[in-house]
C-alpha cells in the first residue's frame, strides 16, 4: 500500500492511556473512540487530524494497556500509518491484527517533524520525507507477521485456517 500524508509528531513512550483514555472505554465503537484519540497528550488533536495523516513517534509507542481500542481509535480517526523508532509489543500485535499500518524506522522517526509530508510504501517499507528529500528503510516484518498482514488481518487469517480445516475433514 502507498501512503502519502501529513505528519503529527510525538515523543517517546506514548502510552495507551493518552492514546485513548480509559474513561472512554465503555464502548468499542470506532467512531466514538476516534472522537477522543490522543486527547490526553494533545487536547486539540481530534480537531486537527485529517483523513490520510500519519503519526510519527519515538521509542516504545503504544506502551501500557492491552486495549485494542488504541489502534482502533487511531485508524478510525483517519490516520493511515504510524511510524516509530519502536513499538510496544501488544500495540504492535493489535495494530497488525486490525490492519493499521506500522512502520518501524528509527532514523525516519528522528528526522521527521510535525507538518512534514511522508510517502510510505508499506509493502516495501520505504519512507520518503518530501521536505528533506531523505529516504529511509524500515525494519521488515517477520514472515509469520507478514502472512497476517497479507491475509488482511488476524481474523481473516484465522478464518482461512478454520475453513481449510473443515474442508479437509
Amino acid at each position: 500500500m502507498q501512503v502519502r500524508g501529513r505528519v503529527w509528531k510525538f515523543g517517546d513512550d506514548v502510552d495507551t492511556d493518552v492514546i485513548i483514555p480509559a474513561r472512554y472505554l465503555m464502548t468499542s465503537d470506532p467512531d466514538e473512540l476516534a472522537a477522543h484519540v490522543m486527547e490526553d497528550i494533545d487536547p486539540d488533536f481530534t480537531s486537527k487530524v485529517q483523513e490520510g495523516d500519519i503519526i510519527v513517534a519515538g521509542k516504545n509507542f503504544g506502551c501500557g494497556s492491552s486495549r485494542e481500542h488504541a489502534p482502533i481509535a487511531i485508524k478510525a480517526a483517519g490516520v493511515k500509518a504510524v511510524v516509530a523508532e519502536s513499538f510496544a509489543r501488544i500495540f504492535y500485535r493489535n495494530a497488525i491484527n486490525i490492519g493499521l499500518a506500522l512502520v518501524e524506522a528509527p532514523e525516519a522517526s528522528q528526522e521527521t517533524e510535525t507538518g512534514d509530508i511522508l510517502e510510505i510504501d508499506t509493502d516495501e517499507g520505504g519512507v520518503l520525507n518530501l521536505r528533506t528529500g531523505e529516504s529511509y528503510d524500515s525494519r521488515p516484518f517477520p514472515a509469520y507477521v507478514q502472512q497476517i498482514i497479507d491475509a488482511g488481518g488476524l481474523m481473516q487469517a484465522v478464518s482461512q485456517r478454520v475453513q481449510s480445516k473443515s474442508a479437509a475433514q
Binding site: V18, M26, N60, S66, R93, V158, V162
Partner: protein, 425 residues
C-alpha cells in the same frame, strides 16, 4: 546450550525440543482470559470465524472487574455481552460478589499454574509469571484467535536475568523492588524480553510480593516476568488447588541477553512520581508534596497481605483530614477475610472507605476519579497522564506502607516518618 525456564515452557507448548530467542512459534494455550472492557471486541471477532464454540470452555475465562458493578448504562451493556457469551459457551466466569480483579481471582482459584502458557486481553496478565508460568497480555483480536484455535503465536523473548543480592530491610517489599528495577532500567528497559527474577532476596520473598513484581514486568516493556518454582510456590498453590502441574527450571548454562545484579540491602521505601513508573525516588526525599487522595488496592497490591500492612499503619491512627482514602480489596475473598480479621473496621475507623472489589480508580473508571490539579498516592501500577482522571491530575505510585503512611501524613511520606513522629511526641 541450556534453556531458560521461559524457553522451556514455550518449547513444550510448541511441541519442540528447544526454542531460540527471536524465533516465532505457535504454542498451545492453557488459559485464555478477557475482561469486561476487552471481551466485547474479542467476542465480535471470534464470531467472524463462523465457529460455534470456543476451543475448550474450561480454558477460557471471563472476569468482569473494570467497570463493575456497572458504573453506567454503557458499561452495563459491555458486561452483559460478556456475561451472555460466557453462559452460552459455558466458559469459566466469575460474577461480582464471587469474584474481583482478574489477576487476583484467577490465582485464588488455582487457575494459573507452573509451566503453563496463559494469555489474557489485559496487559497485566504477566502477573502469573509469579507462579512459574509463561503469561502475557494481548489485545482482543489475539484473544479471539486464541479462543478459536487454542493456540497463539509468540516471538520467543530473550531473557534478562535480574539477581537481587543482600538482605531486604524491614518494611521494604516487592513493590519497592520492582519500582527500583524499573527506575534503573526504564519503561522500555526490558522491551520484548522475559524478566527472570532471581537471587537470595527473591528466594526469601513471600509469594504475594512476587506477584506484585511480576504484575509490573509490563511497566518495563517486558513480554513477561517469571520466577523459579520453590517451596513457597508449592505451598501457595497447595492451598488453592489439587491439580497437577509441571514446573520448569532454567539450566545453569542458559543464555541470557543480559544479567543485571542489584544489592538491595539499603533500599528505602520508594515512590514513582508522575508520569512514568520509572520516575522513582525515595519516599522521604521528595520534599513536602501535599496530596488529596490515597488509593490502596488493584491487581498489584490488593491482596490480603497488602491490606494487613496497611492496617498495621492505620490502626489507632486517623487519615489526614484533607485526604480521601479508598481501600479496595483485590477480590471478594480478600474482602471477606479482611472483614473477618477486623481489618475493614480498622480502615473505616481511621476514616477510610472500604469498598467492594473492582479495578475502579486504577484506570480512572470510577470510585475515585481525580479532578484537575489533584494528586493521589496509589498502590496501583501506572501513573500515566490521565490514568486516574483529569489529564492534569497526578498519580504517585507506591507500596501499601507508603500509601498508608501518606494517608495519615497528608503528603507523600514513608512509614518511618510516622514512627519518628511518635518518638518525637
Amino acid at each position: 546450550m541450556g534453556q531458560t525456564m521461559t524457553q522451556k515452557i514455550l518449547a513444550r507448548a510448541a511441541h519442540q525440543e528447544t526454542v531460540t530467542p527471536g524465533e516465532i512459534v505457535e504454542v498451545d494455550l492453557d488459559l485464555v482470559m478477557t475482561n469486561d472492557i476487552t471481551a466485547p471486541i474479542s467476542i465480535a471477532e471470534f464470531k467472524k470465524t463462523g465457529l460455534e464454540s470456543v476451543f475448550d470452555p474450561k480454558k477460557v475465562v471471563m472476569v468482569p472487574d473494570h467497570f463493575v458493578p456497572a458504573k453506567d448504562i454503557k458499561s452495563a451493556e459491555q458486561a452483559k455481552i460478556m456475561r451472555e457469551f460466557a453462559k452460552e459457551q459455558g466458559t469459566l466466569y466469575f460474577e461480582i460478589g464471587r469474584a474481583g480483579i482478574e489477576h487476583v481471582v484467577l490465582p485464588e482459584n488455582g487457575l494459573t499454574l507452573p509451566g503453563q502458557v496463559i494469555i489474557g486481553a489485559d496487559s497485566h496478565t504477566c502477573t502469573y509469571g509469579a507462579f512459574n508460568a509463561f503469561s502475557t497480555g494481548m489485545g482482543s483480536t489475539d484473544i479471539a484467535a486464541g479462543m478459536a484455535l487454542g493456540t497463539t503465536w509468540v516471538r520467543v523473548p530473550p531473557s534478562i536475568k535480574f539477581v537481587y543480592n543482600g538482605t531486604l530491610p524491614e518494611g521494604i517489599g516487592g513493590k519497592d523492588l520492582i519500582l527500583y528495577t524499573i527506575g534503573q532500567i526504564g519503561v522500555d528497559g526490558a522491551l520484548n524480553c522475559a524478566m527472570e527474577f532471581t537471587g537470595p532476596v527473591i528466594d526469601a520473598l513471600p509469594m504475594d510480593q512476587r506477584i506484585t513484581m511480576a504484575n509490573m514486568a509490563i511497566e518495563a516493556g517486558a513480554t513477561s516476568g517469571i520466577f523459579g518454582f520453590d517451596d513457597k510456590t508449592k505451598e501457595w498453590l497447595a492451598a488453592v488447588t489439587d491439580n497437577a502441574y509441571e514446573p520448569v527450571f532454567s539450566d545453569p548454562d542458559a543464555e541470557y541477553q543480559q544479567v543485571i545484579e542489584f544489592d538491595v540491602s539499603h533500599l528505602k521505601p520508594l515512590v514513582a512520581l508522575p508520569h512514568l513508573p520509572s520516575n522513582v525516588h525515595a519516599a522521604d526525599e521528595v520534599g513536602n508534596m501535599p496530596i488529596h487522595q490515597v488509593v490502596i488496592g488493584s491487581c498489584t497490591n490488593g491482596r490480603l497481605s497488602d491490606l494487613r500492612e496497611v492496617a498495621k499503619i492505620l490502626e489507632g491512627r486517623q487519615v489526614h483530614p484533607d485526604i480521601r482514602c479508598i481501600v479496595i480489596p483485590g477480590s471478594q475473598e480478600v474482602g471477606k477475610q479482611a472483614t473477618r480479621e477486623g481489618l475493614a473496621d480498622i480502615f473505616m475507623n481511621a476514616g477510610a472507605i472500604f469498598s467492594t472489589s473492582t479495578c475502579g480508580p486504577c484506570l480512572g473508571g470510577y470510585m475515585g476519579v481525580l479532578a484537575k490539579g489533584e494528586r493521589c498516592v496509589s498502590t496501583t501500577n501506572r501513573n500515566f497522564r490521565g490514568r486516574m482522571g483529569h489529564r492534569e491530575a497526578e498519580i504517585i505510585l507506591a507500596g501499601p506502607q507508603v500509601a498508608a503512611a501518606s494517608a495519615v501524613l497528608g503528603r507523600v511520606g514513608s512509614p518511618l516518618e510516622l514512627t519518628e513522629r511518635v518518638a518525637a511526641d
